[in-house]
């Protein structure tokens, strides 16, 4: 984990409305690094974020869409964003009202830093 990635992760966490950001291995679904607000279950977020990403990646490949880059899942109680970084995934949990555009940009910077 290099300093530029730590910095990028902090930048994602600093976006207003972001409640958690973590890096996890896609295969195992385990968090390698996490910044989460009180009450957020980082382990569960890592497990479900990676599972969703893996399912999306397989479905996209089967459908002929090629590699999966990012997922945004919107729900009444929040927003989950997942970006692939090689065999790792970056998972963010945010308030529903959080601007997806800001988070996406910060995530893309962080993903570039981790590669």
């Amino acid at each position: 984990m290099n300093a530029s990635f730590e910095s990028a992760l902090t930048e994602v966490a600093a976006v207003p409305g972001v409640r958690a950001v973590l890096l996890a291995s896609e295969r195992e679904g385990l968090a390698l690094n996490a910044m989460a607000a009180f009450g957020v279950d980082g382990d569960a977020l890592a497990a479900f974020g990676t599972a969703l990403y893996r399912r999306a990646r397989l479905a996209s490949e089967a459908a002929g869409y090629g590699a999966t880059r990012q997922i945004v899942l919107d729900a009444t109680g929040g927003r989950m964003l997942v970006t692939g970084c090689g065999d790792l995934v970056l998972v963010v949990l945010a308030e529903r009202e959080t601007g997806a555009g800001m988070v996406r940009m910060a995530m893309q910077r962080a993903a570039r830093a981790v590669r």
């Binding site: 869409y65 990012q70 929040g78």
Partner: protein, 292 residues
Amino acid sequence: MNDDLVYDLADEMARDPHSLAFVRLADLLRRSGRSHEARHVAFAGLERHPYLADGHDVLARIMVDGGDEVSARDEWEMALRLEPTHAGALKGLGLLAYHRGDLPTAHRLLTQAAELDPSDQGLVTAAEQVRAQLGTALPPARRATPAPPPRDPVAARAPGSAPQDRPGGVHDPRTLFASLLGDGDRTALLLDSDGLVLAGTYVDASGVEVAEEIGAQLAGLADEAGRALTYLGLGAWESLLVETQHATVAMGPSREGSIVLVAAARDSQVGFVRRLLARASRQAAAWLESAA
């Protein structure tokens, strides 16, 4: 934006009834599902410009949308008599030839049209599909992305699809979203809770209908999203957007556990795809309600 353009063009026609803007106005009305008005505008324009190939082309499109292939063929043949290299007329006649099973003629006309207008992705795709069925060894035509089928209501009638329905009701569920999708590489499906296709169509680059396969793959993704949200206590899902190498795919829940799915070529803006999903969801909900 289309409404504004329709208004501007109608205004131009009111100021100058001889304007050639009638062609664009008729086509916009057709694409908006306002076929009756489109037909009126096209007829009125052709009364003033009977030798305008584009006018006959747009009237043919209106005819074919209404299922009148005989009149459409007459109009396209007239357009070709007036302008032998009219790509739209060649394309239309090529697709009609395809539908009556005359593959050699379809191939000849579509290839000729594609050479005249290589920027028309739907046309290039249709030519490829017919070529594949003929089994010829012609060089492959240009193609940008592998996924969605041609979206022009005329081109959308290429292999595996069905005629556009009359305004006022969608009789063929495969055309439910045709009016929303426009000209770009976009597609939309309505899936039931098991991932089976209720409405919409999806033809891949080789001309094969793949809606069921795509539906099954992506509906499973919605199930995964639902599980994650339940466990994380994030409430009910509203939408899921997946950005991939070749496409942006968005899906959302509809009535009775069904799922609306839209896909657009990767160069489409994410915000646009979300708006497309919202519009498709409204249309799907209305259709499901009317079908109940």
